[in-house]
Symmetry: C2
Subunit: 645 residues, 2 copies
């Protein structure tokens, strides 16, 4: 067993450059595999590099400090996806403080997500009453748009594991809707549209686009399981308001991230495995993959004209967007722009002109000019590849790209463990032949193996070029050791000046994926809800116990420090519903409700109502108590839930 202590930490990292440690592991874990990685420079050599990011800053950090003193507020909200933790998170920036966990696809016994009837209705249940799923894998979170920037209305977040799209109400920061997307597996990227593709007057989000990674047999009911040539993937459009699936479009290859244009016309998804391979070698055989552009207006016209099929029991219209079925650009539903091998990201520049894909297995980023894609759809561009206007060499393992609104791009380099700053116009000039132009402006070490990278307001036309977050997949020696499972590193970088400055190593419980950084003035929350927004609110005139056969309804109120009934009596075998309305009106005065043995645990915010239903199958006395500290007499806030034998 290898064990770490302070002395080792000191020897290995703190007092010396830390890249030596990375070098060792990179050699073992990354360069060491012989599975078709492109030429990989000697990671071990990094050991000798000056450890730019690790150089201890002056205590406090001066003008670049991320410290938000007590009593002051953060400047930005960051909304992040949490990978296989299944939740969304709200982080204050620059402090890095976690302001909220929003349970979405996971369960959460603090708020009662998966316990209350209301959350169970959103999550979905099986015939036996158990939750359909208790796990999820959230990769991307994006906000709804108006006029090219966030409108603070909704967040959308995906579940890659079970193919679901969830919506979060930003006024209360709770999930209000989860949609199962049919006919797909491995739902990875999502992006809301920024305005309507057809109606120019609609300048806000009405659709959410969803890319799927995994090829599966259509219907996936046991047929064709041994014939991968019959498998396929679909691009999905969901109505942002109703959260119903509008249509799906079959494509070649696996889809990864999704981006949308500022004019609303196109959605795009970068694709690896355009080979349609079903094993590792097959997924990497082609030298180039693609970025697929979807012509939304044409797809919706085709649906309207009935040019679609359906799959199995699903009623969702499915159009055929495969290249072979769309030979004529002037009627094509999809344009496949060839990009560098196995790309892992597509991001829109804030000026609305370009989409940038990253090579992952190629050391390049690919810049696609959007008006040239439009030209191809009009039959005015010879080849989709002609829409590529730059392909700068940025470093090893490029994954995602962020923007500063000043013409610069920031790409995460997974293999190099760096963030590279490069200039988009310079890259275009270089591609045209200018050999003197400086494309790559700076490279900064990050710690270690970055995935997503995102900048303040960077996915809007209001990109402000202040903060950049590098979500790193390995933290190794950056924090006090806590055993085999490491926390990940979210590194905050100041991009406001000429030089990049590493501000902070924040931590993230695995696994930080994508995020957005939103100016605080955009977010308007409700702090105390309206009791009348809850149709089942319990008021003094309705409070009490009613019984119909063996169904007992307990209508309860809370006001610190007591529940409205000191004793609730039911009989063994009863089906009990407790509806609890919190009558406290004070901001932050939330009450909890827990019942021992019955696995009941949930909270109710001021003026809100929640309910639970369960079978009273154990006789005895069970003290229902308040779990959410509410009052000096909080401990005494309890009622006797008595189940008579």
């Amino acid at each position: 067993m290898s064990s770490r202590d302070d002395k080792q930490n000191a020897e290995e990292g703190i007092l010396t450059g830390r890249r030596g440690f990375l070098g060792k592991s990179a050699a073992l874990g990354l360069a060491g595999v012989s599975m078709g990685l492109v030429a990989c420079k000697d990671n071990g050599a990094n050991a000798a590099k000056p450890a730019a990011g690790a150089a201890p800053a002056a205590k406090g950090g001066g003008a670049h400090s991320i410290e938000v003193p007590p009593g002051q507020l953060d400047e930005y909200y960051s909304f992040i996806s949490a990978g296989h933790a299944g939740e969304a998170r709200i982080i204050g920036m620059p402090s890095g403080r976690t302001l909220k966990r929003i349970p979405v696809f996971n369960t959460d016994c603090m708020v009662g997500w998966g316990i209350t009837n209301e959350s169970r209705a959103i999550l979905g249940t099986k015939a036996d009453g158990s939750l359909k799923y208790t796990t999820g894998d959230t990769h991307h979170v994006h906000g709804s748009y108006k006029d090219g920037t966030y409108d603070g209305r909704w967040l959308f977040i995906n579940d890659k594991l079970h193919g679901r799209l969830a919506r979060i109400r930003m006024d209360i920061m709770e999930c209000d809707k989860i949609t199962d997307i049919p006919n797909i597996q491995g739902f990875h990227g999502l992006f809301p549209d920024k305005r309507d593709p057809v109606d120019e007057k609609i300048n806000y989000t009405t659709r959410v686009f969803c890319g799927a990674e995994f090829h599966i047999p259509f219907g996936n009911d046991g047929k064709d399981v041994n014939d991968p040539t019959k498998w396929g993937t679909l691009f999905t459009c969901v109505n942002a308001e109703t959260m119903e699936v509008k249509w799906q479009c079959r494509v070649d290859g696996n889809m990864d991230l999704v981006a949308t244009t500022y004019d609303g016309k196109f959605a795009a998804s970068n694709q690896y495995n355009t080979e349609n391979g079903y094993d590792l070698a097959g997924m990497m055989s082609a030298e180039r993959d693609a970025c697929a552009f979807f012509h939304i207006e044409r797809i919706e016209k085709a649906v309207k004209e009935g040019k679609f099929t359906t799959i199995g029991t699903s009623k969702v219209p499915v159009v055929d967007g495969r290249a072979a079925s769309n030979p004529d650009p002037k009627s094509a539903l999809v344009c496949y722009v060839p990009v560098a091998k196995n790309p892992h990201g597509v991001n829109a520049s804030p000026d609305g002109k370009y989409f940038v894909c990253s090579g992952k297995l190629s050391p390049t980023a690919t810049v696609i000019q959007l008006d040239l894609v439009a030209k191809w759809f009009n039959g005015e561009l010879k080849e989709p590849r002609d829409a590529v206007v730059a392909e700068p060499e940025v470093g090893l393992g490029p994954l995602h790209t962020a923007f500063d609104g000043r013409g610069n791009a920031y790409t995460s380099l997974f293999l190099d463990s760096q963030c590279v700053k490069w200039n988009v116009d310079a890259a275009i000039a270089q591609y045209k032949g200018d050999k003197n132009v400086k494309v790559v402006l700076e490279k900064m070490d990050v710690h270690y193996q970055p995935g997503h990278i995102y900048s303040s307001m960077g996915e809007t036309k209001e990109a402000d070029g202040k903060l950049l977050n590098s979500g790193n997949k390995f933290s190794k020696d950056r924090f006090l050791p806590v055993g085999p499972l490491h926390v990940e590193t979210e590194q905050l970088i100041d991009i406001s000046g000429d030089k990049l400055r590493l501000l902070a190593d924040h931590t993230a419980y695995s696994e930080p994926h994508d995020g957005i950084i939103v100016r605080r003035d955009i977010v308007k929350t409700v702090q105390v809800q309206n009791m009348d927004d809850f149709p089942n609110a319990v008021k003094p005139e309705t409070a009490g116990i009613t019984r119909q056969g063996n169904k007992v309804h307990v209508r309860l109120m809370s006001q610190a420090p007591s529940y409205s009934m000191p004793e609730i009596k039911v009989k063994k075998g009863d089906e009990v519903t407790i509806t609890l309305t919190n009558h406290d009106k004070v901001e932050d005065l939330t009450h909890g409700c827990a019942i021992p043995t019955y696995n009941i645990n949930f909270i109710v915010n001021p003026q809100a109502t929640k309910s639970v239903t369960f079978k009273a199958d154990h006789a005895g006395v069970f003290w229902m108590y308040c779990t959410h500290f509410c009052h000096a007499l909080h401990l005494e806030m309890r009622s006797r839930f008595i189940v008579e034998a």
Copy 2:
């Protein structure tokens, strides 16, 4: 609906003293109830107070900054309980960064807690295979001791909701054992012993003591549900090594916190509701409650001599510690020392001399001298109350007390929203009659309504008097608003100087309860486990699929970026067990394993082994994929799990 925005925040708090806001809510939510609170000074008057803690510090904070620059490590670990979130957390101090969530009584789909067979065995399952409980309420976490300080071996944490004690292995920071405590409800306080009460050679933790709050009928099977006079509570002793329940002791009143003496002789629990009341008024009728001291040696002798009963089907020996059954101090099992009304805490001073209880409904703390308690047990002290050597007036709503090792105590004042620093020796002198001594040294505003308060190493003889954490139950306007549910405030205070200094407002997802702050050199973790510690480890010679009837065992290995089998084929209706061993040896190289539709989601750390068992009840192709970013080809790390119809 009341909604908050930046402008309002500015108007209400940031630019002015924030206590006005508190004053308003305190008036509504606390002072406003008329339920027997002792005289409460005008909270509204606080609005005019200078907002000491809220005064914005200089950006960066100078020498008192909590900012840990990138590349440097925190000085302390803080291990905290997370209330009704059901987990434990590891926080780096002073940065406040969350280094780990440790799922305990909750479920966690990131690591697979509640999903893997190994975690399900620890959590316990019902006859139908579902988890016994998925909720919990963790209030206190304490470390195991050796020679009066932490030995870094174990953490113990309670579940108040379902009466369970859990143990966390500090080498890997995972829960390895959960014990159901029989015959009790509302298991609140816990504390390990610091050395053996009988064998002086044993200088480390061998027992954990557990206090229970709620009176219930013994057996709790439906009998006596309407006769509260027959209900009772038990104090429980658990074997720290085997985690088996050793004995229980019946007491009067409800128990709250637990503390143990440095000599190992006594455990104590503060008690509210010594009246044995079963409603709010009844719980507050007496002017004094008690701190109950348990004479461990005598109790264990009584058990050995067979002087015990058992309850229902439980085989745990139960001795009778009620006052009426123990009239002679010289043979008494329990000593009830009267303390201020409805106390909410008992804490041991690092010099081993005193226990301090707080009044909650009395503005006083009660100092009990331990050698006087020992004298009472020897028949040398007239009344238990004579063990009280001080009862200083500290402020309104005193809850918990921490120590700095320099003779000072720090008590949280819930109603006053303050931390009060007072001197123990001065309080004793004052109690003896010295009218000139200064007991209360300083009061600092905290934001808002503090619960637990704990200092660095403060519950050991190595209390170092550097940091103090105030776990506040309300945050109100201290952070960017995130809707009706607020994050809580953990305020870090520098106690090393003459004056208290507020260093930071950290955040905590509800609900922060108690914690300990441990020097980093004490914690020694294992970063890569030994494969041979897992009896079911899959090695090349055992990898593959075996079948017995409809039971299929898939023995799988992972090594970035692939699983050992690209395809796993089973038949619909099979009971499938997947055992996965992670063969990567690199620190931090964890792999995930998720299977769509099957609700499977778990991780395996380097060299570790985990397993899941489920019924293959859906035919089709399900891509099993790696969820924990492992490699540039992480996205391509997937295998086809095929269920044939």
